[in-house]
């Protein structure tokens, strides 16, 4: 029986692409109002896991419950209450920022959309280029626009794939601060995939370390650091990554 205290809950989640097992039977339980992070190297299965939670990829087996809904059968019931931002998914380049936000705001049936866009533009400091084509923006500007799109429906569950990838340290810090403020203001649940240790250490209440499609360890950042006898999460990450290398030899 699923426990609806968890905003995200998976059991035995598996995804195979032919002979390749991208995700190998993972259990996730993220309580409401917290931030959880999937941490792992390239190819660990983080993005595939997020895509399954969003309904973009159909799992081979296992169960997924998000916001109380069975995502394998009934994902459209809750898609309007969640959202996602990823550097690997673009917004149409030839549409202006405002047009993109209008399109997605309408798809998510956002109420008082004009006011919502105005507020997001102010909060995310994109009001100076709302009427510019999205394709003409810098990387940092695009990241803020992508975040605005991900927040256009004020999601109860926000999934983020490497939210500060390719950003300079100042902009990355600004984005992290904004995400912390958003969670504090709305009580939303955040689940992010990252291989940025500083980011995970700062934002996450719970970290799930992934390797080769499996969760190999989990806990708070402090618990993981203590358990591995290391000084930082980065050292824990390297321990786990090097175990992978040894296993591969």
């Amino acid at each position: 029986m699923a426990d609806d205290a968890f905003v995200v809950e998976t059991k035995g989640l598996v995804k195979r692409f032919g002979a390749t097992e991208a995700v190998g039977g993972i259990d996730i339980a993220v309580p409401g109002g917290t931030t959880a992070a999937l941490l792992g190297g390239n190819g660990a299965g983080k993005t595939t896991t997020l895509a399954m939670l969003l309904g973009l990829i159909e799992p081979t087996s296992g169960s997924i419950r998000v916001l109380g809904a069975d995502m394998l059968r009934d994902r459209h019931r809750v898609l309007a209450r969640m959202n996602f931002s990823s550097p690997y998914m673009d917004l149409p380049h030839r549409l202006t920022v405002r047009q993109n936000l209008v399109v997605y705001g309408r798809l998510y049936a956002t109420l008082a959309l004009k006011e919502r866009i105005a507020r997001l533009a102010r909060d995310l400091q994109i009001d100076g280029f709302l009427d510019r084509q999205t394709g003409t923006l810098s990387s940092g500007q695009r990241t803020r626009v992508a975040l605005a799109k991900a927040l256009v429906n004020e999601p109860e569950l926000l999934l983020l794939d490497e939210p500060t990838a390719s950003l300079d340290p100042d902009t990355a810090d600004w984005v992290r601060t904004y995400l912390e403020a958003y969670r504090a203001r709305t009580g939303a649940t955040l689940l992010l995939a990252s291989h940025n240790m500083a980011e995970v250490e700062r934002l996450a209440d719970q970290v799930m370390m992934m390797r080769r499609g499996r969760i190999v360890d989990r806990g708070t950042p402090q618990e993981l650091i203590a358990r591995h006898g290391r000084a930082s999460l980065e050292e824990v990450f390297l321990d786990i990554a090097r175990e992978k290398d040894l296993a591969a030899q």
Binding site: F17, I57, D90, L91, H93, Y104
Partner: protein, 266 residues
């Protein structure tokens, strides 16, 4: 650093050959156009050689055919281009994490295709009036039926091409521009179906477009609306729309299983 390097040129040639080899639709495209043009204009020339009074008997028959063919082509392209826009902008993932359902997307593309047909064909039809003293609107009410039947066929084809794009990504892009013309010779756009070899006539009977163009010639030459062709085209459109819709939705689910909604590209 040399100013001219045959090796660099060969490397770039290799790069384009890799691309060509990676996608069978791209290779097919090379053969396709010359062959289709040869077949289409071969039948047209053959017919006109023995029926020189054809155009004189109903002025505008070729212009009417061109305009109506464009209705079918724009109807298909209307869906295909809307679809390609999402692939080009790597936007499919964004769309389908939203509450949008695939059939809603298909219906939106159909609506957009009507807009594209109107923008593309209506000005050309109006321009033909002062330029050639030919108005396709003189076809009267049957024009509405021909228009609807050809647009519906274009939609069915557009949905089927969308299914291929979902399976093969942008490697199948050229099909969007070519597929309709594959049907042109058997559609008997510029000549009667009877000109075609018997085995092609069998194929023509299965194409709503062939029934529409036979119907158009019936209105122009005999001043009668061929109900049998209208009913045949309607029934075929219903079947093809159902098949196109099914292929599209099935390919969407297959893309979810493969995880390719996140990774559409060349």
């Amino acid at each position: 650093m040399t100013l001219f390097s045959a090796s660099r040129i060969a490397t770039m040639l290799l790069r384009y050959l890799y691309l060509l080899r990676s996608s069978w639709p791209r290779a097919l495209e090379l053969v396709y156009w010359p062959t289709i043009q040869m077949i289409l204009w071969g039948y047209t020339s053959q017919f006109l050689m023995t029926n020189s009074s054809y155009v004189a008997r109903a002025s505008g028959v070729l212009l009417g055919a061109v305009l109506l063919w464009d209705v079918m082509f724009r109807g298909q392209l209307g869906i295909s281009v809307s679809f390609l826009e999402e692939l080009w902008s790597r936007n499919l993932g964004q769309l389908f994490i939203s509450p949008l359902r695939p059939y809603e997307w298909a219906l939106a593309m159909m609506a957009m295709s009507l807009v594209r047909v109107a923008i593309g064909v209506v000005p050309a039809a109006l321009l033909a009036i002062p330029m050639y003293h030919y108005s396709i609107f003189t076809l009267g009410l049957p024009l509405v039926a021909f228009f609807a039947l050809l647009v519906a066929m274009g939609w069915a084809l557009g949905l089927a091409i969308g299914a291929l794009l979902l399976r093969h990504g942008l490697g199948a892009e050229s099909l969007a521009w070519l597929a309709a013309f594959l049907l042109a010779p058997a559609s008997a756009v510029y000549y009667p179906v009877s000109v075609l070899p018997h085995w092609v006539q069998i194929w023509a009977a299965l194409l709503p477009s062939a029934h529409v163009f036979e119907g158009m010639r019936g209105v122009m030459f005999e001043h009668r609306f061929a109900l049998d062709h209208f009913l045949a085209a309607t029934a075929l459109d219903v079947v093809y729309l159902a098949i196109g819709g099914w292929l599209f939705l099935d390919s969407f689910e297959a893309a979810r299983r493969r995880g390719s909604l996140l990774q559409q590209g060349e």
